[in-house]
Symmetry: C2
């Protein structure tokens, strides 16, 4: 059996438990892994990608480096870990300009800086094409797994929903983003949200959304619940870009690369979650609820499972 | 200027300080990076490589996965950090067998297990060829930099010196290692040494040796000292493989991939270092001393700087 036959999700599912510690702060296959140390969880996360697969038109090495740290930091933050530092594993062709490599690292450093964290070195290797692997670590007092109970509320944190989907579409359609600065910003500099840490202790569960909201919600439903979307955040610029509500909903559901969090909120914690998010400047959008059953629905209609997979 | 023109060392030297924290436990460009946290240093290390560049004849994905964790763990241990966990960033061709990926991860898990550590997940991506990036982290009470003062003694820890060099030569010459089980073991399963932690607080400095002893000693000399080798560990099996003392010395000086430590020992600490290493079962070999001046010498003759570089 070959990788392209079983697909990335099945591959990761099979690999994740190998060597994973029992009694770990988070189960294997969660957004980040970790160990207990002195009553605290220490989480470690690695995310890799090919340069050409994430560089949209107009993005350069600085933006791709920024995006790399953002992707890894997002997984840590959504698990309630404060990222302390990041390393870069770079595969680079020998004829690459040195300035290109420097800008890549500078973009990564800028994302780390804006998260109050640092770059802690890394490694370079010759490769056929530019590929990055970003690792990051940090402590979490109460690491937050992927969990949901019927009756819980669904919130979407952040304001990149639909915007990154729009930027990806613009890339493939050759559309200019000059008139859509917020869409460009969301795709080029998707800074994860330190404000998530203000919600420590209040949430039932959380998932990082990076392969599209639909895929993320399907992963939530796989825990054995039904996900009912009642509303989606449709920003005016996303509506204007999309040309209609239906098209904007598509961009929100099947975008990807948001590096935003899906939060599962017990109803009794809702008021406090909203208050703390308000103080922390964290945008929150109430999108629906969790019920008994299975599948993902938007206003009663099934949401197809479509998302990004590497194999 | 292109990467292949400036070379890997100059590239890394330029990249290492970008975004690196001031007042960090170790300077940028050391074997691992880190941050202070609650009076303890937390180190993070990433090392990447192409499968085809490290897989010697007879090695399979299990051995290459093992080697990946070993390489990263070695950098942490030599800085006196106890590795807690590792993540894998994998680039894999779509037509690769699933079993190949599993054996790669199982080898990594086995190396982690033998170090009392764990695998904490990772990421898979499609790539043109198999490439791995291994990250690891752990705490260090007193992280050990690369340091040396004239008068210090030089020790080589471990027993893989010359053996891995012999295995690499056997690979390129098509020689069989059946009669040299220790050489094969050293190259196929180069487990770093937890025993190094027994030397906490006693050493002046330490360097991981993975690009060859000569290159490692030249990096030590670059700190502004002269390195005088007086003796080298020449194992009987390495002598037998090499066919003579001169050839065996070559294998020790210009091997690479040992994942062993070069230790800088203040003379007044020597007795205690030897005692603690003995208790911990850590092989130590007194190889020479550090003096004033510059360069690397073996019994008075200059040692050429020859080692592995990726660009």
């Amino acid at each position: 059996m070959r990788l392209c036959e079983i697909g990335e999700r099945a591959l990761l599912k099979g690999l994740a438990p190998i060597g994973y510690p029992e009694g770990a702060p988070l189960p294997p296959g969660d957004d980040a892994g970790g160990v207990w140390m002195g009553g605290e969880a220490w989480l470690l996360k690695t995310d890799g990608f090919l340069y050409r697969e994430v560089a949209l038109v107009g993005m350069g090495p600085f933006e791709v480096g920024f995006r790399g740290v953002a992707a890894t930091a997002s997984d840590l933050l959504v698990k309630m870990a404060r990222p302390l530092g990041f390393t870069l594993g770079l595969f680079l062709p020998g004829d690459l300009e040195v300035g290109f490599a420097r800008r890549l690292v500078k973009g990564a450093a800028e994302a780390a800086r804006r998260l109050g964290a640092h770059l802690l070195g890394g490694d370079t290797n010759r490769g056929e094409e530019v590929a990055l692997t970003v690792s990051g670590f940090g402590p979490a007092q109460s690491p937050l797994p992927r969990e949901a109970s019927p009756g819980d509320l669904l919130y979407l944190a952040g304001d990149r929903w639909g915007r990154v989907g729009a930027a990806i579409r613009a890339h493939y359609q050759g559309r200019d983003l000059g008139a859509f600065p917020l869409i460009r910003e969301a795709a080029f500099y998707p800074l994860p949200r330190l404000g998530l840490l203000a919600l420590r202790g209040l949430l039932r569960g959380a998932l990082d959304s990076s392969d599209g909201l639909s895929e993320t919600l399907w992963q939530l439903a796989e825990l054995g619940v039904r996900v009912d979307l009642e509303a989606l955040p449709l920003h005016p610029d996303v509506l204007a870009f999309a040309g209609g509500e239906e098209e904007a909903v598509e961009l929100v559901l099947f975008g990807g690369e948001e590096f935003e969090a899906v939060l599962v909120v017990p109803p009794e914690a809702e008021a406090q979650v909203l208050a703390r998010a308000g103080e922390a400047g964290l945008p929150l959008f109430r999108a629906g609820r969790v019920g008994e059953g299975e599948g993902v629905y938007f206003r009663g209609a099934p949401v197809p499972r479509r998302g990004y997979a590497h194999f």
